[in-house]
């Protein structure tokens, strides 16, 4: 009962957030300079034809009308069609306006559905790597505040956080792929192609995880119930693994929720560097091609993912610490 009411409330709030995000993106895209029809039809197309295409596509209607039409589609699960991409995969941008080989335009939903699982895979693997790197360092640092594990955690996070990801990506690709030939780097032809970009992302995320964990573990270890647990007769292992870690996992969970949402929203630089066919690469191309429907679609899907992840995080957090009322 409790959980149903919670879900209903949060999903309703989420829907409002997604709606506001769509409205904002929609309006912003319409006011930035650059006419998408000009890009679609090609530089050589006559002005009258461009006007005609624009009017046919409804791009000359008032913004609120366009938005209403668009949201009507979204409600029915139709994110519209890409301005630029044809369904068969060839690029249209810059092609001649009277090119007869031009086919049906691609569905935005299909484009996203093709790339999103790739990004999801990358994001999940990056999280796993980040946790493997950060949890031991962070917990150890938190158990010895002021001691050398704590300082090592701090130095390591400073180091990780100051490595630019594009540089690290290139260096790792050079060492691991080119020199040592351990794994592939560019493009995607199988799971192995995910490892390298995930590693780079993990090193980017790890400092935040380390920092959050040291602070929260150190904070929990100072609490009365930990202090008194030894006097009650519990062993050090029970105290650390059963009580301290559980209590310090809530701040970590919140951080992971935010980080994961950001990863899903598209890791632009990394996907671009590794030519990884995920949402990030799709976004970059969509922006460069003024592909309004695609940008909007990605924004809506990302916002929805963000909302859902946060609901999940809050649910798990309440399961860990029942004091956090929904």
């Amino acid at each position: 009962m409790f959980i149903l009411r919670f879900l209903a409330r949060r999903l309703f709030q989420g829907a409002i957030i997604v709606f506001l995000v769509s409205a904002l993106i929609f309006t912003l895209l319409r006011v930035v300079p650059g006419d998408p029809v000009r890009l679609m039809a090609g530089g050589m197309a006559p002005e009258a034809l461009i006007e005609q295409i624009a009017t046919d596509m409804g791009l000359r209607d008032p913004i609120w009308q366009q938005f209403g039409r668009y949201m009507g589609g979204v409600m029915q699960g139709d994110l519209g069609q890409s301005f630029v991409r044809p369904a068969n995969g060839a690029a249209v941008g810059g092609a001649s306006f009277d090119d007869t080989t031009r086919s049906e335009r691609a569905e935005v939903l299909t484009l996203i559905a093709e790339t999103a699982p790739m990004t999801l895979q990358l994001a999940l693997l990056a999280m796993v790597f980040a946790l493997i790197i950060a949890v031991p360092i962070g917990v150890w640092g938190g158990l010895r505040p002021g001691g050398w594990p704590d300082r090592m955690a701090l130095y390591l996070s400073s180091l990780f956080v100051s490595l630019p990801n594009f540089w690290l990506g290139i260096v790792l690709a050079l060492i691991l792929s080119v020199k040592l030939q351990l794994m592939p780097a560019i493009g995607y032809q199988g799971f192995a192609y995910t490892i390298l970009p995930a590693l780079v992302l993990a090193i980017e995320i790890a400092p935040f995880v380390i920092r959050t964990l040291t602070v929260s573990v150190a904070g929990v270890m100072r609490q009365n119930f930990i202090d008194i647990a030894g006097v009650r007769g519990l062993t050090r292992n029970q105290i650390v693994f059963r009580h301290a870690l559980k209590n310090s996992s809530v701040p970590l969970l919140n951080l992971l929720g935010v980080q994961f949402s950001m990863l899903l929203g598209g890791v632009l630089v990394i996907e671009f560097i590794f030519d990884y066919p995920g949402l990030g690469l799709l976004t970059i191309n969509a922006v460069m091609q003024r592909d309004f429907p695609l940008i909007q679609g990605i924004a809506i899907v990302t916002a929805a993912a963000f909302v859902l992840i946060n609901i999940a995080v809050d649910l798990i957090a309440t399961a860990i610490d029942p004091r956090l009322e929904y």
Partner: protein, 606 residues
């Protein structure tokens, strides 16, 4: 030889000395402590704060860490030295030697159910006991300490327990492994008097039932005498006296003990009394039928917590008005209403004839010059990063009073008035003691020259001696400035000393409002009698706990029963109490009470 020794003494402390290492070298905390404890004996250890009681408790529980260090002595438990054999001591912790602390609120992991943690602890020290046996034992003990619906409560989380219930759960936690020695360090201190009295009674019963020896550490002499077979007095790290409670109070042998007894405020006898101002007839603050409810999210959707219900009283100019009651009775909510921090849902709060609850934000700020608040927590109530002078001048700045130099002079003047050295003007409050901090809080409140000061548990964080000094200060300030005080407190002895009229609150209602002597000698409400019966005192009680002491705890202010809110705990409740709520009626001579047992012939509604 050893066997007979362990028959007669369970714990034997010999020449125990502990120091605290600091930047100025080691400071002696305990010096040459020596005593024996027999099986099944209850020994109280008392002393003021800083006497080393807690360090002693922790040393015996093998729970001392840097900067504390044992420099000499032996702690023999059943003939073996705990200090020499750390592994032996660790093996005993939680199993043979159990410890209960004074802060039950944070003593268990908030993310696990109480039951799971009791089972976890028992199985940690006794791995041979199966999980189901451990659960059965935990539930049996929870019943033994009278936790209602123990089987359901077993599966609840610590935050769902009240303070008193949590302390009982911690006693279960200590006793579940059948320890030979229980170290109880200030276990009643954070509890309300009626609940503390229940816990003490319970501890004695458990002592006879489970034959556990108890070392009962406490800072209140009356409580210590109530609780134990023998009392040991600790002063500046040394044992100065050890006697049975009767002999100790009748014939104290050490000057420190005599001073401690002489200093004790009394409830009924002529003790060290303070001047209580004579009440004038001019009300400075009138509370008329004030109510406040807060919305919370309960188990089944939204719920209303009725924090304050139809409270009525007048505070006269130059008066010391006391508001007493236990935690959760609505004292603090009422304080928030009186100071205009929140507005009442119903009723009026008239300050010099003007309604505080209806005043505009701007008018309220002007009115606040006239009534100021001093809070309970000496640490949280001061900004740690501002110098003392700046803290004092801030109210003047807010109200745009004086220029820089004038404000500075005013701040220095107020500082010397409350007994803070003016040389502290530039320093941060970090170095101040709790007592000095409360002086600073009083100074900050009185710098605007208000006419009414509201003291919300201002003295509860301070020890007896420091409390006395601050009460002297309040008295002097009142004589000089003609302040009116409202003391909000749970401490009956403090209220008895200083207040001229007292309101007793229970579950958001004022159940009795009466002049001081009338309240203590002729209380008109059974709840007041229960409070008086539970108040820690060495005197012969006018109200015996056996007749008046309450069982259980107050009902939740969310689902209040119809009728009198006190009926569920009242030893004298009858049918009418359960259907009808008695109104606050006059008993003559300015005394009012809300109880059907009072004769109604002279009663007139106010």
């Amino acid at each position: 030889m050893l066997d007979t020794a362990s028959e007669t003494t369970l714990l034997s402390v010999r020449g125990l000395s502990v120091v605290a290492d600091g930047p100025d070298g080691p400071r002696q905390i305990l010096e040459g402590i020596g005593f024996d404890l027999k099986p099944r004996q209850i020994l109280s250890v008392i002393g003021e704060s800083g006497s080393g009681k807690t360090v002693l408790a922790r040393t015996l529980a093998s729970w001392i860490a840097a900067p504390l260090r044992v420099t000499a002595g032996q702690v023999l438990f059943k003939g073996r030295d705990l200090l020499a054999d750390r592994a032996y001591a660790r093996g005993l912790a939680g199993r043979e030697i159990a410890y209960v602390g004074g802060n039950p609120a944070g003593a268990l992991d908030p993310t696990m159910t109480v039951g799971a943690q009791l089972v976890e602890k028992l199985r940690a020290v006794r791995p041979d006991i199966s999980a189901s046996d451990a659960k059965a034992k935990a539930i049996r003990l929870l019943q033994a300490v009278r936790i209602p619906a123990a089987e359901r409560r077993f599966h609840e989380y610590p935050f769902q327990y009240s303070g008193g219930m949590m302390q009982r759960a911690m006693i279960v936690d200590a006793l579940i492994s059948d320890p030979a020695l229980l170290i109880a360090d200030n276990i009643t201190q954070p509890l309300d008097v009626t609940v503390a009295a229940q816990i003490l009674k319970l501890m004695r019963e458990l002592n006879s039932e489970f034959s556990t020896a108890i070392l009962f550490i406490c800072s209140s002499l009356p409580v210590a005498c109530d609780a134990s077979d023998e009392v040991m007095v600790l002063n500046k790290g040394r044992v100065v006296e050890r006697q049975t409670p009767d002999r100790l109070t009748a014939a104290p042998q050490h000057a420190y003990t005599s001073a401690l007894i002489a200093e004790l405020p009394t409830l009924w006898q002529e003790g060290p009394q303070r001047r209580r101002p004579a009440a004038t007839e001019k009300p400075i603050m009138s509370v008329r039928g004030v109510s406040k409810a807060y919305e919370t999210r309960g188990k089944s959707g939204k719920a209303l917590v009725q924090a304050v219900r139809h409270v009525d009283f007048d505070v006269f100019a130059g008066d010391n008005f006391g508001i007493v009651g236990e935690s959760g009775c609505g004292k603090s909510s009422l304080m928030r209403l009186l100071t205009g921090l929140e507005r009442p849902d119903g009723g009026q709060i008239l300050f010099q004839g003007e309604d505080v609850g209806a005043a505009s934000a701007r008018r309220l700020r002007e009115l606040r010059r006239e009534f100021q608040l001093v809070l309970q927590d000496p640490y949280g109530s001061l900004p740690p990063q501002s110098p003392i002078g700046a803290i004092l001048e801030e109210p003047l700045k807010i109200h745009r009073i004086g220029n820089r130099a004038e404000r500075r002079d005013r701040a220095r003047a107020v500082m010397s008035e409350v007994g803070l050295h003016p040389g502290l003007y530039e320093s941060l409050p970090t170095g101040l003691s709790a007592g000095q901090r409360q002086r600073l809080n009083v100074a900050r409140a009185m710098i605007l020259e208000p006419s009414l000061l509201i003291m919300d548990e201002t003295l509860s964080a301070l020890d007896q001696t420091e409390q006395g000094k601050l009460l002297d200060l309040f008295e002097r300030l009142q004589a000089q400035h003609g302040f009116t005080y409202i003391f909000i407190s749970h401490d009956l002895t403090m209220v008895r000393q200083v207040c001229s009229r007292i309101a007793v609150m229970y579950l958001g209602e004022a159940v009795e409002v009466a002049p001081n002597d009338r309240l203590f000698f002729d209380p008109g409400h059974p709840y007041t009698r229960a409070l008086l019966s539970a108040a820690p005192t060495l005197e012969l009680r006018r109200y015996r706990p056996e007749d008046c002491l309450l069982e259980g705890e107050p009902p939740s202010p969310i689902d209040l029963p119809p009728g009198c809110a006190f009926a569920s705990r009242c030893p004298q409740a009858f049918d009418r109490c359960r259907s009808q709520n008695p109104a606050l009626l006059s008993r003559g001579g300015q005394a009012l009470a809300a109880c059907f047992l009072n004769p109604t012939n002279e009663a007139t509604h106010v």
